[in-house]
């Protein structure tokens, strides 16, 4: 079956988290759109050493472990459950501004 190129989900807490594992099998990537004011908290989490008053442009990528980091942000604790659910799945996670979390199956493992 041909996969959707991308599925976008507006953040609705646990409801969003629960739907992701299933959607990952239907799409090449799932993009979670967080409320814009999470950008600052995520920026501080992923770029803690940046000087103040810089452009808060987030650019972080990694594996499922990144979801655990996201879950440390107040209001995004639900991502911890997602991290556990996808712990054994080979995925790539990317966090970008303005508060977007992109999850896709790892290209390396997908080819294998």
């Amino acid at each position: 079956m041909k996969k959707e190129p991308s599925i976008q989900l507006t953040w609705r807490g646990h409801e969003t988290i629960e739907s992701i594992p299933r959607l990952l099998s239907d799409a090449r990537q799932v993009e979670i759109i967080l409320p814009a004011n999470y950008n600052h908290s995520l920026f501080c989490t992923f770029h803690p050493d940046e000087p103040p008053a810089q452009l808060e442009k987030i650019n972080a990528s990694g594996d499922a472990e990144l979801l655990t980091v996201i879950s440390t942000v107040k209001g995004l604790e639900g991502f911890a459950a997602l991290a556990r659910a996808l712990a054994t799945t080979h995925i790539e996670v990317q966090v970008i501004s303005p508060g977007r979390v992109i999850i896709k199956p790892s290209a390396r493992h997908a080819k294998a």
Binding site: A36, N37, N39, A53, L55, E56, S97
Partner: protein
Amino acid sequence: MSQSAILKPGVNCWRIEQADQAAFLVDGAEFFRAFRETVKQAQRSVLIIAWDIDSRIDLVRKNKSDGLPVSLGAFLNCMVQRNSKLHIHVLDWDFTMIFAPAREWMPLYKQKWNSHRRLHFFLDDQHPAGACHHQKIVVVDDQVAFVGGLDLTTGRWDTTEHLPDDPRRRDLQTEPVPQPYHDIQMMVCGPVAALLGEIARERWFRATGQKLVAPERQASASYWPGYLAPDVENVQVAIARTIPRYKGNAEVREMERLLLDAIAAARNTIYIEAQYLTADKIGAALAKRLEEQDGPEIIVVLPEYTDGWLSQNTMDVLRERLIRRLKAADHQGRFRLYYPGIPKLEGKCVNVHSKIIIIDDHLARVGSANLNNRSMGLDTECDLAIEASGQAHIGKAIAAFRDRLLGEHLGVEPDEIAMRLAQKGSLIRTIESFRGSARTLLPLPLCVTDDMDALVPDADVIDPDRPMDAEQLIDAYVPEEEREPARYRIYLIAFILASILTLAILWQWSLLREWANVETLMGFATEFKQTRGAPLFALGIFLIGGLIAFPLTILVMACVLVFGPWQGFLYSLVGALLSAISTYALGHLLSRNAVRRYAGKKMRELNKRLAYRGIMTVIIVRIIPLASFSVVNMVAGASQIRFRDFVIGSAIGLLPGMAGISLFTDRLAATIQKPDLPAFAVLATVVAVIIVSAWTFWRWEDRQRNTRLRARAD
């Protein structure tokens, strides 16, 4: 269907945060009053970040007294005196002395700014060469903040009526009534104010090295003035900035990105009020929308002409270039340019200084950033924006704000604008239906001729969008033939003085002395001096000399030789001033093009300097003449520099040079008459003093000019 979100933190804005209340304060009177009423509530901290500030201005001009001072300096001092825990920090852009006549003189040393230990005043010079700190932010206890185009300085106070010759606009009783001034400040209350406090404290730290502690916010505290109805409540407010790259700090261009994204997202209308309209990328984005078959209407309200001769001859020319591009792209008739028309303004125009953009009923942005290139990446800017994102109460507030502005310009009630817009379905048709002969919006005429346009270089020289390095600055601002190092000029002065000395020595020991010895010449001089009317004759020589551009230095030397050092100096000064006035009048009468032909290649550099009209500018041009005496006078006359400034500046500016020439001439004559070692020593000392003084002043002025010449874009 609601529009997709425009505001994106980390992309086109810094952060988005909650405002419990927000208001659009239209025109200076409303802002000054709200500022004063809010600062009266301050408990711990008032942060004022300014492009300009003046302690002498009155904050209120018509309301009943509340017992507190009305002038800014006295009011702030009173605030810190009555509350022992309150600190007020004022960070003002460190303007150059060349702008001093237009600003409060020596603010660092003014009693109003330094008389209280908890009123902290600092001039911020931490910016790239040619840039300025243009942010206008006030934050009170991190609870309430103001952001916009208004500084707490002279010429800003005005009411929405913009009455011609309203005496209340006069800040200083010695000045004429300033032109009407239209500007907008946004006031926000709530957590977003704390973020603006962060920006202000970060600026203070970068400028002073001193970290300020944020005041503890009290959620229950009410700082909002009772008389002021908020325009919108419970709204997310975005902060967008421009910060130039400087000393290792990364460039921030959130404002430019936001404007581009907002223009791209517009569906029906883009309403803009702007002081300048020269930003290339913004122009391209607007042109792209105009080229679309079903793009939005674009309405831009600008000043008829910008403030200041320099701006009119540079930024207004760039503005017309961009406008012509927009008109060329407007195949559907969806582009209108207006300026506010007010009856009986008599030669003045409303200084539209506001910096706003309103996209449909969806987004409103208010701030300090102009629509010029330098506000996109060179100057330090701060703007606020709100977005409806499907929230009806915010959409209504944005529409009401636009209708209120149009109502002000067109002399009708905002409700009438809203009703007519609903009927017509077009903002352009709505405006056109209200345009009349009384207060109205008038189509902005294009008046830059090809000749004027040809004189103005490209925008990247006049209006760069990022800092230039030193080489670029030199390429941009110093004509090729004037680019030799300053030391060469000193060598030239030394060479001229040495040549005169050599001639004097040769005179002393050559056959020339037999033919025309000093005694003979002094005899002639004494005879002439004793002639009735000799001083008047000398003054006449100065007058004629000025008209034929005879070198002033030679006339002064001759005058000193004839009349002696004191009388000669006095007659030279009076003669030079008379000559200056006559050639100024000539320049005033002749057309600018005629003066341009006469002045030749020096015109551009002189124009740049004289454009900052004021006594200090004239003084500097006199001390460091960029062209001959007569050329400076004529260009000053043609540039419509104020006569009073010209005469006072000339009198002061000519003093050092004339004193030096008189002293040198007197000592030279003495040395020739009695060429002994002490005479040579005194002469050598005089020469050394002249060279060192000239060198020191030249370096000082050069540093000041390089740093700031282009910074006064506002």
